[in-house]
Symmetry: D2
Subunit: 135 residues, 4 copies
């Protein structure tokens, strides 16, 4: 059974995230989502630096689909979410979103693969972590 | 009939594009693709700054799907491509890719909408430009 | 008399901030410092978006000097600081730093100018804000 | 005797480089300058990836001073320069600038150190490269 709890991380929009169209640059939502995913992972007791050191492995993005519904703006206070959709041997699918107040601005499906740092080939997610994710 | 010519822009990978995993950061491919799209648009005689000044409008990303097949590395010389898939009244779908030598590293489908800068609502792509794109 | 209180903002280092050298990319410290400056300004009741809307003006960087003493690493929890050095009619000099635990990793002197959005020429900082900064 | 030839790299400004103030984000000039420095180094036959593989070392920024004189804008075609000011055992000082047409927009002095990737401690620039730089 998949845990359907949604992890939520608050963040603020700064000039560095915006572009000359006056809104958040479309590529920066991937930054926002990485931050939320990382803190979601940390909520299970794992850090990227830790996985790299302990297991010589890291989660990388294999594919993503992003829908941009409404623009986020300078100084917005955003909620960026992460929620498990599916957990496989070396793959995890996450649903992520960016919200302002109750309004969903962006949604994304992120396909992650756990790969060895040596050759970037998929390897099994450590059992101790996968057990938690699948709980 | 849709023009199936592929636009190709060469670019180099710098430290700014990479991350501590030793490869190009997944979000940076959106930067690479924006550069190729912009030069593709310029090949039709239009710039983003020009569209904003002349028409008070701009192309924004409405959705994107990206597949990361193989990592690009520091100092790689990449070819980033753009090719029309579909042209609508206010929407354009582009296929884009990132290649190193003959190897495809990343592919993407980008859904663009032409919107007014005032309210970010879709408006018709100027006839003179759409005629060229559909040619 | 200048307020010598140091404003401190905590932030985490993500992959997006690092490069293939395994450390935080030198340009990303400017991002970190913008975040701390913005929250420092907000502690006086002012936001960038607010200044732009209310006064048609914004603080821009006129010059900066940065010393990189030690590298910050992936997953580090950093403290980024901002402290007033000098307040003029349209100019403010801030001292900023990035620390990990008790160790100073980076220091910077940032020269800001308050400029009109129309022509990017310096204008006077609103009295109500300057009075607070100089207090 | 120091080579006073100025290396020049052309580049275009894209949305990814701009912010909601309508101009290039101050941190992005460091990206522009890294690109010019890297191509300047390549003009001597050395790449960053090559130095890392061959010598286990890399040039990092030890300090920089940047003056922002005039803003660069979306779609600008810029010239970014690099010129040697001083060459030491493990240190190099470069003067860099960003120009549009004949107008200097930004100037910078960049202090680089050649460090071992293992401990980020300064080591001697390989003689074969330093000889060229000092020529």
């Amino acid at each position: 059974m998949i845990d359907n709890d949604e992890y939520v991380l608050q963040m603020r929009v700064y000039f560095q995230d915006t572009d000359a169209g006056g809104v958040v640059y479309h590529g920066c939502y991937l930054n926002f989502m990485e931050r939320a995913r990382t803190e979601w992972l940390r909520s299970y007791g794992y850090s990227n630096a830790g996985l790299m050191k302990q297991f010589g492995a890291v989660f990388v993005i294999r594919a993503c689909h992003i829908d941009y519904l409404k623009p986020a703006l300078l100084d917005d206070l955003l909620e960026v979410t992460a929620k498990i959709k599916e957990v496989g041997r070396s793959r995890i699918t996450l649903l992520q979103s960016v919200r302002r107040d109750e309004v969903v601005l962006t949604t994304a499906e992120m396909n992650l693969v756990y790969v060895s740092l040596e050759n970037f080939k998929p390897i099994s997610v450590p059992d101790v972590l996968r057990a938690q994710l699948k709980y």
